[in-house]
Amino acid sequence: MVNIRNSTVNIGGLSFLLVDPNPHSSTIIHGILRGFGAHRIIEARTAMDAIQALNDQKIDMMMVEPSLENGKGLAFIRSMRQDANNPFRTIPILVVTGDTRPSVIKAARDCGANMVIAKPMSPASLYERLTWVAFNPRTFIETKTYFGPDRRFKIEGFPDGKGRRAGDNAATIAADEGPAMSQSEIDNLLQVARVGGS
């Protein structure tokens, strides 16, 4: 099992798009990400700005506040996920919200977000969520009503090493093998990942 406290996520080469109507709240996330080593952070205040940014720049991860466009932030995510022709439909999306009512969290999960982060956030909590997303990639699921990361969470690791499901027992993470990827290798892979990029 990954030890999050000792983990290292290299976000220096990634581009983040913060979609938040409140510039001050966005400033906090921007500052934290900069502290983590991110250099490419773009802020958008409206859904249109966000779409423009996605079209204009290489974006690796989005953070969206549900209060966007008078509460249509989650609808914006859903529309991105549902549109089979949208080249960004599988981009990792984190919902960042101070409204932690169960109904809001459930709606965020069901719109296709990878993760929900509660505001106010501390650098430690954001780091841990990013680590979680990094080390726990989830298969995307497509049904008639949903497109997004698999919403079922598998328990990983038990004190005695035995789970009730066959899949639980298989959930061990291999030890790191070989040298880490270089930044140019990461950039090359991302370039391939971008749809529409030639």
Partner: protein
Amino acid sequence: MANPRPHTGNSKSTTILAARPARRAVRRDAAIKRAERELARLKPRLESYVKAESQRLAAALLAAQARDIGYAGHVGRAYDASRNIRDVADSIGYELLGFIATNLCTVIETAETARIEYPADIIDCHREAFALALSSAYLNKTLEELPELFGGLLKIAEAAARRAAPPDAETEDK
């Protein structure tokens, strides 16, 4: 019902994020320290914002307390200001202010979810708590330093939630 089928789509971004320890990666503790320094640098600007939103909140709550025409509108404005404070205050060390803002948001959201009238007495109570939290003696206090206030406001929010709960839910508990 259609079987969910895994998507073998185009994005490798998540996996790439896990392209862990590259040479230039910053370790967790160092990254968090650096982020905290960034927040400290932003603090003066955010403090001014929180104080301005607090004034906006106080004005909205006063108007609401006077039971002016448009009570819901005043509460709506109070909610917006309170949400803005909630999202920022804790990050710059105004723990008490952040807590009161969170509590007020919860009270208003609970009333909205249950589609009941806003609990005016509880909202008034938060106005006084905000005034206290903004005073220089309390601005930088932590919740641990003020257990009575912390506990009292929590109880008030719980009371609001009980009021909002459907009557049969309460009897079922008994």
